[in-house]
């Protein structure tokens, strides 16, 4: 597979080539794949015994069990299927923030592109949803999304996804909450939904979104991207802060309000932690000066299932 996207690093992909992307919940795929399915299948991996009921395929009767117990048992095996991975990229204006380094959007682009590549490589379907403001989108159905690419398999589709990913631009207010709710409604089957965002929204609103997604049996992953200066808020002179999402500029002396800023941030992060705990979302708080390959490796390794006995 040949790639020429700037945000993808071949060396990183090579390094991650030994790792696979696993879903933590059973997935309903269209083809056979590497992920568990809620439906019993014909893989080599034994799942369970169950009593025979008329209509069952007699080829699946375990005759040995019949010989021992004089009863009919159907021997069931796990079904392996592929997954649908939906990448939700927050393209609100704040994602374009970069202070002497890479922007959060670019960082998210690298993470998302790499994961898309890995998923496609293992035969999973990949889709892309760029969440913009509530007013974005051309039709009523598209409201809240700049880009909607439903998950599909294949390299051509991957190429489309990566192209759209490369062209995504951050602008306007965030509409992530609405977008996630729409995602929950729109994606009919179980899917792996990976959100890349700075999550600068009300934690309670986010809690509703995640609960909605979890209710629809989606495996939700959230990459919370933050820039170092946003965390430290250390400036040596008064600053005129321009709201990247279009709000009023604010003139403030960071030396005066730094403590209050830190306190507000701390409260927010604590609330976010609580939301994650309640919604059981696979949450990753990332500072974007961290090497993204480490983040990906940690993410993939963390999702590797334990060996079945």
């Amino acid at each position: 597979m040949q790639l020429n996207r700037d945000y993808l690093d071949q060396q990183v992909l090579d390094r991650l080539s030994t790792l696979q992307l696993h879903a933590r919940l059973p997935m309903l795929g269209s083809v056979s794949g590497a992920h568990r399915s809620p439906i019993r299948g014909s893989s080599l991996e034994f799942a369970e015994y169950r009593k025979y009921v008329p209509g069952d395929d007699t080829r699946r009767l375990d005759w040995r069990a019949y010989a021992r117990n004089d009863r009919y048992y159907i021997k069931e095996f796990e079904a392996d299927t592929n997954l649908r991975m939906c990448i939700v990229l927050d393209t609100s204006g704040s994602m374009d923030f970069a202070n002497n380094g890479i922007s959060k959007l670019n960082y998210a682009r690298r993470l998302a592109g790499s994961l898309a590549y890995i998923a496609a490589r293992q035969g999973d379907a990949v889709g892309l949803y760029c969440a913009g403001s509530d007013t974005s989108g051309t039709s009523e159905q598209d409201k809240g999304f700049h880009t909607q690419i439903p998950p599909k398999r294949g390299t051509v589709h991957l190429s489309t996804v990566l192209d759209e990913l490369g062209e995504a631009e951050a602008a306007g207010e965030t509409g992530l909450a609405n977008s996630l709710h729409k995602m929950a409604e729109r994606v009919p089957q179980r899917a792996l939904i990976i959100v890349f965002s700075d999550l600068f929204i009300d934690p309670e609103a986010l809690r509703n979104c995640f609960q909605h997604l979890r209710f629809r049996k989606h495996d939700v992953v959230a990459f919370h991207l933050l820039e170092r200066s946003e965390l430290e808020f250390q400036f040596d002179r008064p600053m005129r802060f321009i709201d990247m999402e279009g709000g009023e500029p604010v003139l403030a002396d960071p030396t005066i309000i730094a403590t209050q800023y830190q306190r507000a941030l701390e409260t927010y992060l604590e609330s976010m932690t609580e939301v994650i705990r309640d919604t059981e979302v696979d949450y990753h708080r990332i500072r974007i000066d961290e090497d993204y390959s480490d983040v990906l490796a940690r993410f993939l390794l963390g999702r590797t299932p334990k060996k079945r006995k």
Partner: protein, 684 residues
Amino acid sequence: MSFLQPLALIALPLITLPILIHLINQQRHRTLPWGAMMFLMSAKRMSKGMAQLRHLLIMLMRMLAVGTLVFVVSRPLAGGWLGCVGLGKVNVTLILLDRSASMEMTDLQTGESKRSAALKKVAQLLEQSGYGTHLILIDSTNGQAHKVDSPKALLNLPMTEATATSTDIPGMFESAIAYLKANNSGRADLWICSDLNEHDWQPDSGRWAAVREEFSQLEGTHHFLLAYADRPSSNLSVSVENVRQRKSSSGAELIFDVAVQAEARNSGERRVPIEFEVNNIRSVVELELETWGASLQGHRIPIDARLSSGWGSVRLPGDVNPLDNRFFFVFSEPPVRSAVIVSDDARIGEAFRRALAIPAEAGLQHRIDVIPVARVGEIDWENTGLLIWQAPLSQGNIAEQIESFVNTGRSVLFFPPIQSSSNPRLVKDSDSSEHLFGSRWGGWQTPEQELSKITWWRGDADLLANVDSGNALPLNELRTYRYCNLETPGTTLARYGDDNPMLTRMATDRGGVYFCSTLPTAQFSSLERDGVVFYVMLHRALAEGCRSLAVTSQRDAGASVFADRDQWEVVEPAAEDAPTLSQRGLHAGVYRDDKYWAAVNRSRAEDSTKVTPIATVDELFDGLSYRRIDVAVGDTSALASEIWRTFLVAMGLALIVEAVLSLPSKRAEQKSLGDFTIAGRSGN
């Protein structure tokens, strides 16, 4: 508060520097696109309460630090009262230093006198705070103004040294006024250093009203009184009176009275040794001290009979005031007491002669001459002590001679003239229009019997003073049948029942001039018949007039004490302790000019413990810009001390508080990065 570098206060507006820097800093802000606006807005909301107060305090601390730095540079002064006065820019500073003997009270611990301590304090203060373009010292001995180069020079000037003189404080103020007026001095500070001795201050003098009036017209004049009013707990002073030399069975002897005065609070030694020194022969007598002191009446010391004059001294052991521990005296054989009676009436002249011919004391010689007016030219003015003029008031040369006679310290008694003794025709008003000493005789009067009595006389001083025992002279027994009206500006010493004067004294620089309005003979009064008053009055006038005939004299120290002669030499103290030529007369000692001797001592008033009450002193400056500083002799602290260190400490504290307030919150710092990375947190 006052400042040594007040110009530095120009920089005081720099306290707004932190505000300006803050505002400039606000203007030079950096623009930054920012994503996490939700935290920023929340922080802005939270910073409106305590945080704003904190930063306001930081700003105040910075301003305080700058302000105190400016104050440190301006070198502020403080000294209790001085902090309230404020030493502004002054054109001239006048120092009125009381150099009287009582100012030599010394603190035994520091060894400094009131005068010396006051000088040092004022010099130090002026050195620090400035004294304008001129620093003037008013000499308390003569009232002259001396320009002084610098405050430090005050400490070494002969015009600031100790003297045995008394001080005329109102006179010093008058000299200060004269100087200020003559030089149009503008803003002036007057520093008065004194112990508030009542004799020196003369609080009852009418001159104070004039002084106040003059100063109230001089704008920008401030008075600072450095008052050393405290009295020592123990001090003795000695004086000698009535020094007489007379023949005795063994040759000759000196007789004199010694008085030792003690401070009221004295409770130390109950016996005090007194050392006498006469002709270099010393003797010591111990006196028992009472609470008021001690006295030794009629103490006799034998001397060489061949000695016609000499000197001596009485000395006390050293105490807090060295100037009142020694008293000098001189002695000589008493002069012949000579009086001349000018009268055309033989009977009246004889009455005077008889009264004067009898000496009041044994050993005195009297010579009395009675001459008519026509032979006035024969009077031996040089050797006469008393002139009794019972004749019309003279004019021309005779009047001038009489005035000159008075100016040499002699006495003149004027009695009214009559035309003839045998057939007296009383002088009419028109007959006597001549004036002498501002007075002239009027017409004769015959008062009613009740009004002829002497109803009032001055018994505390002068010719009619009470006798030594304290008893009054029997003037109330006198009868006056005729008296002559007198027009005079003099001071009445005795008056009749109708308020007309019987005896009047004229004001003179030296000598005594008296006018008696009746005559001693029986036709006019009972003066001759009753005798006592007549006798005492004439002999006192004779004694006073003959005092200037003596070759020895006791004098109070003062600038004009040797005005009568100009060849005085110092006899004691001798050698290096002898005062310089300019300071002669200001210091106690014995002086000699040929056959004349003079013992110069402090005025007895300097021994007085009477201090002018503080309230009275304050009243003397009523309506003037005046500040009193009460100081003790042992108080070595400066009048004003620099307090820049206090401001430096305040600045340091302000900076520390500012630093503490500016410290970032540890809590926020830790939370900002700690426990940040969370990976894979889920319930799966």
